[in-house]
Point group: D2
Chain length 430, copies 4
Amino acid sequence: MATISTFTIPPPSDRPAMAPETVQARFEAVRAFSNYLVEPLEIEDYGLQSMPEASPAKWHLAHTTWFFETFVLKHHAPGYEPVHPVFAYLFNSYYNGVGPQFLRPHRGFLSRPTVREVHEYRAQVDEAMRSLLARSEEPSLLALIDLGLHHEQQHQELLLTDLKHGLSLNPLFPVYRPARDAGNNRETGMNWVSFEEGLHEIGHDSAAFSYDNEGPRHKAYLHPFALADRLVTNAEYMAFMDDGGYERPDHWLSEGFVTMQEQGWTAPLYWHWIDGAWQHFTLAGLQPVDPHAPVCHISHFEADAYANWAGHRLPTEFEWEVAARGIPIAGNFVEEGHFHPVPAGEPDGRLRQLFGDAWEWTRSAYLPYPGYRAEPGALGEYNGKFMSNQMVLRGGSCATSVSHIRASYRNFFPSAARWQFTGIRLAKDL
Amino acid sequence: MATISTFTIPPPSDRPAMAPETVQARFEAVRAFSNYLVEPLEIEDYGLQSMPEASPAKWHLAHTTWFFETFVLKHHAPGYEPVHPVFAYLFNSYYNGVGPQFLRPHRGFLSRPTVREVHEYRAQVDEAMRSLLARSEEPSLLALIDLGLHHEQQHQELLLTDLKHGLSLNPLFPVYRPARDAGNNRETGMNWVSFEEGLHEIGHDSAAFSYDNEGPRHKAYLHPFALADRLVTNAEYMAFMDDGGYERPDHWLSEGFVTMQEQGWTAPLYWHWIDGAWQHFTLAGLQPVDPHAPVCHISHFEADAYANWAGHRLPTEFEWEVAARGIPIAGNFVEEGHFHPVPAGEPDGRLRQLFGDAWEWTRSAYLPYPGYRAEPGALGEYNGKFMSNQMVLRGGSCATSVSHIRASYRNFFPSAARWQFTGIRLAKDL
Amino acid sequence: MATISTFTIPPPSDRPAMAPETVQARFEAVRAFSNYLVEPLEIEDYGLQSMPEASPAKWHLAHTTWFFETFVLKHHAPGYEPVHPVFAYLFNSYYNGVGPQFLRPHRGFLSRPTVREVHEYRAQVDEAMRSLLARSEEPSLLALIDLGLHHEQQHQELLLTDLKHGLSLNPLFPVYRPARDAGNNRETGMNWVSFEEGLHEIGHDSAAFSYDNEGPRHKAYLHPFALADRLVTNAEYMAFMDDGGYERPDHWLSEGFVTMQEQGWTAPLYWHWIDGAWQHFTLAGLQPVDPHAPVCHISHFEADAYANWAGHRLPTEFEWEVAARGIPIAGNFVEEGHFHPVPAGEPDGRLRQLFGDAWEWTRSAYLPYPGYRAEPGALGEYNGKFMSNQMVLRGGSCATSVSHIRASYRNFFPSAARWQFTGIRLAKDL
Amino acid sequence: MATISTFTIPPPSDRPAMAPETVQARFEAVRAFSNYLVEPLEIEDYGLQSMPEASPAKWHLAHTTWFFETFVLKHHAPGYEPVHPVFAYLFNSYYNGVGPQFLRPHRGFLSRPTVREVHEYRAQVDEAMRSLLARSEEPSLLALIDLGLHHEQQHQELLLTDLKHGLSLNPLFPVYRPARDAGNNRETGMNWVSFEEGLHEIGHDSAAFSYDNEGPRHKAYLHPFALADRLVTNAEYMAFMDDGGYERPDHWLSEGFVTMQEQGWTAPLYWHWIDGAWQHFTLAGLQPVDPHAPVCHISHFEADAYANWAGHRLPTEFEWEVAARGIPIAGNFVEEGHFHPVPAGEPDGRLRQLFGDAWEWTRSAYLPYPGYRAEPGALGEYNGKFMSNQMVLRGGSCATSVSHIRASYRNFFPSAARWQFTGIRLAKDL
């Protein structure tokens, strides 16, 4: 099994000045990292689709390849012949502009192409891409390829969270990779970091890569607020549970309480009460719940109820972004190999765990920024058409690549979603 | 049948200085208006519940009465005995703080109490309220009663829209009240009204009545924008339909397109293609669609798709509120007796149809304002717990009472809801 | 309120010799009995449809009238004009040969025509029928009218059971008609009545009226068996419940156990555990469960599980018919005014409660007899097209008219149905 | 790939005289045949579960092994240690008497144990079984093992039909095994074979193996009837389709017509209209529909509608059994390697295609024979608890082993099931 250090992915450089050799290096690194992620899988694991919202690992490998074939090679590599005529249909996720799509909930029924054939597909496309990259200096083409790499990094995270969901339903509790010691299993206090009111610029502001939904940059007025300097821990969340958190409607959104009852939630996803203690399924198999690690695998509904119970609230995405600006992007990312949030370090007056560990639910709905318009064409479907009934999450997680996240990065999921590494940072008005 | 002029409801006065005799007058007028609204109903119509989201007219009559019994009389009228012990359960809508609730989708199964008994219930509570009002000067009690009256006015609108939905499923197309001539059936152009960018105060700002979700008043920065000076017409919407609006996914939110296909939408709700022309079910029975009247009974998904198709967008709720500030509250309200939107008058450089006619979908999700916290106790459940996966609508409709609406008023419904009088005002960035 | 004795319906005479005056008398009596049944109803009760399988009382009144209009008057009364053109659509139950049908689950949404209008519809059709009857001697026409009367009698039973279901969901537990004392509240033993094996003729055998599904008469071989001489009592059924009947899968059909768990059954339909004792909703309101009365409102699944638990089985429909042959048709029918099963009388060596009280679930699927073919045309849809996934019940109930039942009568419902008056008679092999 | 001739499975001998060496030979042959069936599979194919009613091939391999472990080794092999403690839970299908069961619709989510591990599981259990067989002469134990082998043969058929369903959803139309030429592609007439009325003995009658649902042997009276001497062909079925078979309700059971519309059926399962002709997915991939081969993959509803349309009916299971008695068991079974029905040979005055090719829907519901009682204990759950809302099929199919079928064999599926190899033989009254 390869070591993680093999996969140091160069950070994305500035778009206007994006050098071909940087994109080439990123291409090799990102594509190789997908292979690293599936290395521990049995062939049988690759096909798991345990709910319509999740996709098999094999499908992620093929879809990210399809992206390069469809948006890059077909248009920019003269004479390129697609590897298989049906793949355009099988591995199109949701791009109506490209053509019809195989039924999403049926992805797990595609036993063919086999894992070997999908790896061959990847290899063939990689070869064609390498040829193209060797002769490309056109900035817009390089930017398009860079988009494909960010797209693949997004799917790397989904590959892990979808796989985790699939494995979790197996009473054998399979181990993806054994646990690494986080070395920091201590209680640590929570402090507030304050921010003054004022008018702020929000949204992506550099020439470097970003998704279209992070712009346009615009002004927003924020009232004075404070953020907790670390994520809510499992111990703190268990106090909410012990106080009837899942039984009384007082602190819940109405839709949240109904959803919780219908789905039978009594604890975060993956938690099992075994012999008088909480354990949870992780990518390292069944493990005791660490009281000092951040709670994760909770829905927006649970995050909101917890915050209400605690007498506080969730941050808005703008508050989060203003607080994150200028903070170095470091933390417990996928490259650390924990594949799970770990306890915060000691307080130092600054915001801890802002990047990595767990995506932080905000109280902001996922909506377009002022002046936003989706690009015309199929690539315009990437983000804009999902701006409906989803909530924004910020900061990345233990399954995100460090080279993929930004202060302006907007992730989004429905309020009831629990299978991502999602946690809670408290906020309050001042 | 009483004439409409009987029901001139005094506008709500300022809360701090609310005079007892004003509340008394409002009490009589609002309660009588409910009776006016049900006057044309057959006893059989009172029990109609054609979907879980709608309630029978009889239930609305009882629930608005229960509100006074539960929140006013039980606490403020010493020795008051509830009319029937089971009513507290049957007519509680969603107040967990008060007690359990009869199943919402089963409200139509309550053939008892009968219509006569519900009217007796109303009469008994009215008597007790009159006694209480006669001896009350305490401002907080008067404000609570005023809240109950606003609550009843909200339900008067729901009574009409729920009734319309119930009658619409009957192939006999029953007439609630015959149509009145709007006298203005002419095409009229659409112009843009521009607004500069800047920092604005948003939210309710006077001592007069408002719901808690309209505050706290706070600052928001708006970029330059323009609003259409009237609502989108049926003729304009038919152009969208003719251009494949309901067939091609290009302009739709992804969730909207899926919902549209699953529900089989091909036109606004209540539209029927009969002998080569569109007719629609109205509270005056089946009628030809007037090309110059505002389109209504469309979902947020359809409004958003239309705006995209037209090359524009929906306004935010803040843009709407800033534009509406200072504009007199006048228009086609329920008191006009049209029970349907009517064509706009001639352009005059100002925003037409801003109040009345049709609720205007905004692109804003229904979320708490900065600093908002729901009040403790059952009345805190009125608004706060619904701030999830709904969109804000502004301006009132032809089923709203003129004395019930404000520039800061925030109505909210899920993106797929179509049975309210909901329409479209376009906006654009400048 | 009329007394029951008003409604002595003459029994159907032999078809070949059916006298016009007999049919006339039956017509008046059956039509009047429908009016008798709805006499205690509030107007609000007429529209109740509490599940798709049930229909509003008003609909039953109209549909049975539609039957005469559609199958008799339109074809046999020259110049007859239907009362309303839309009624042909609204009140067609399932006769594709006649035309399309209004959606069954939406029948409760038909607040119009009103109750008064439906009674007028009945009166108009009755007048036309009386004219026709006055001049008709054609046996086939008289037989057709007689079919319409049997059809109405079937719906009279459904009117009661559907109404009971609708009222049962109301926490006010409305009383349809107050209880009458059955005067026989004593425990009585259960004995077996034996039958020898042999070849038997099965099916309707006289010239008198029967449905087509009761024939052709044919031979069937029966092995030796015995039948319990009375229905299973509530006390006996409670012993099954106390022995974990609703918890352990041992005695259940697999589909039955799954259904029971999905539906949350823990007792017969309408039972409520109140203050440490079982009560049940009856047409006389909430009443204590009488331990000596027959258990009813149980599904075939429950009947089968009970029989297995008791070490016995349900009878086949052929065993039941052979046992019933020659036994006088007498018992607790709807004319008794109990509207509920009553305890059996003292044993007398013969089968008690064979007719009336509760329909008896058999272990026979509802299938065509050898040689059966549905008639061509719409009336052929009456029975044949339902011979799929239903079980046969025999003997009539406390909601059946005595003049409607026969030894060869085959009722049928799906295995999970519980809202009819359905009970258990045990059988065993010898 | 092994040739089919390797797998000549000795027929089951008489139970009382069942020789140990016969059971040993059968054990080896049946177990090896399972391996033969999965030989063409990719590892990815083993996990396919495309609907709750179907199971992955891997699960079938494990479950049939679990059966020997659970019912034979645990009770009869002293000191036997189960291979894995969790397998008792994972691979229990529906035996409540043994313990709880892993959720059936989730079987496809069990990526572990892997295919290799399941084959190891089989090998370990085989070893233990061989040891036990080497020292066992007890007839009841040998009979129990023989039951396990019949059980495995049943699952071999399901493995094929479940696999076919899974592969069919893949637009790549994977080939399980290439088609073999049936060498008989000619039209052949259909004749009637008549049977006199009389009293017959029905049910299993020899000392050889049978399932408990085939007895007790009992008497039944049959009226005169005739059976078609071959199965209905695709050409004949297409005539029904061309005559509006799937559009008009006339010939359908009511539940069948509704089901057909809800499921969107317009042809047999697996049929595709491609470039103006019907093709269908087979285990040899996409193939043209052979007009002379028997129609298959139709539901009971379709079979019944076809028979009505043709002016005939389906046989009862008793008619079928009486007709089949004494006819040699020969035909197109799984050992032929067609994995699909083939055209009938030339008429010879006798019933053709009675065994093999396609299971024949009867008009008989799956109910217990007179005197039947399920055995106590878990093995009693094998058949009895499914006698509810299913229809009987007779004769075996192209996926059945010749050594598994009998004239008295009763297969059963719900009326809507289409994924088995199910066809139509017409019957008529004389």
